[in-house]
Amino acid sequence: MVKKKMYPVWRKIKNKVISLFFVALAVLSLVALVSIVGNVFHLTVSPLHISSCSQNCGWISIWPGIRALWWTLRLLFIASVIALPFAFGTALFITEYRVTYLVFIVRLFVDILAGIPGILIAIVMYGFQFIVGQSSSNELFISSLIIFLLPKLAKGFAEIFYGVPLHYREVAFAIGSTRMQMVFKVLLPMTFRTLSASVLLGVARTLGVVAPLLLFDSGIHYLPVDIYHLTVNGEFIKAAMYSLFLLFTILLIYLFAAWLDQEIIK
């Protein structure tokens, strides 16, 4: 009771106004973010409200979406398998070797490549095939995915390795381990779950990219690219249904990653 009287009225009002401002903005953000998923849901189920919906309804043609998702995961799997060792090696080079100009440059390049716009990757791949000769669409697709994925994974891995206390390494070296032994017997076992989560989150992010693949008119089904083309052609219901597959897949991957590395949420 006494405490309540401590604040003058104008301060109480100011306090309430600030609280209201924060809550209003948070609600606005919640509405915006929920409406993104809600919009996809609404568009997907909207044909169900139309009583005359027959075989022509976009909702019924579910199989092309699943097939596109399967193709997408397959391409992504190949890209991840190729990018993974390079990313791992690059992260080790950045974190486990003496800091020289070379390490500084590699770290800078990884940072820049991790933030490079997807459309730049597309035009570089397009231009590259003119220099070395025509490549198949599959190769270009997978190469673009690798270029997108590699620096992001390398940066994520490097951050994880930085998180391992230095004295673990020092102890390993003190008892006569080589660098390779230290990496495989200390660093990897300690960070395995986090690394796995990082790979999964990298895959989840790459699962949604369109720009690096946009310029290749290939006939290969990559789910986000299909969604883009469907939206541009005005097939919103089908695009929303495909988006729902994509969101659900990303949610599953995220949940698995969060289970592996619970520090993400905490």
């Binding site: 973010l33 390079f86 997807g118 035009i123 231009g127 969604i227």
Partner: protein, 305 residues
Amino acid sequence: MVKQQRNNVGEMVFTTLVFGSAASVILLMGLIIVVLLVHALPAILRFGLAVLWTNQWLPIDQVFGMWPFIVGTVISSGIGVLFAAVVGTATAIVIVRIRLKWLRQLSAALVQWLSLIPSVVFGLWGIKFVAPILLQMLRSAPISAVSGSAEADGILLAGLTLAAMLLPTIVTVTRETLISVPPSIVDGALALGATLNEATLSIVIPYARRGIFSAILLALGRALGETIAVVMVIGSQPQLAYTLFTKTDTLTSVIATQWNHTQSVYGQSVLFEAGLLLFVLTFAFYTIARMYVPRSVAAARLQLW
């Protein structure tokens, strides 16, 4: 002794592979620079730097000006980052203040999941959710007379779509920064008679300003490079944006939209020049950003940068 030698061979192979991986990053960077330069060179030699400030884009007449796209990029990113920074920071403050642990973690997880949502879904949201609302507002307000446009597509819609896209990034990184503020200094402020809001505004936010700034910087980086969500909502017209509802293009969206429509001799080369400009901007931006952005575990793990 034999074991030691075997280890040395293994160690050598391991070191070679690690150095080879690192070399692949340098090669990749070299490849990007060489390819962009080789293909942009004809346009650079023909038009010089004038393309940067030329106002018109008329490929049939061999007139290529990137100024409308540079302006489009700056304005749409500015709108997006401004909205996202204000709303995102407030949201992060509210999430951090939630007392129920499960609700706090659930909201954090929801935001993190949303940060992984592909840009194409945001584009779809912009077209089917925000555009009708904007159109409704345009029709009911006298603003349409000012803009002279009866369509929602344009730079404002692109900015709002970008804002929603950047929101999870800003909330995630800012939340991480706010959590790391020592509770003792907040308790100290409260003990001296400050309200919780006063403590937030005068103690917590100034303490976490570097983290908040880095969140905004990361969001700006994403906004500058975003292509698909922007292509879907900006209207794609190669003209300077005089109003918030002018259909225009950004540096990234012009490459995506004009790529298959360039029949002129220098058309594609100019687009490579736009790519080169984008690359130079990205290079400069992230070189500066890495000096100011403190290591963010959330950003690294969620591959936000």
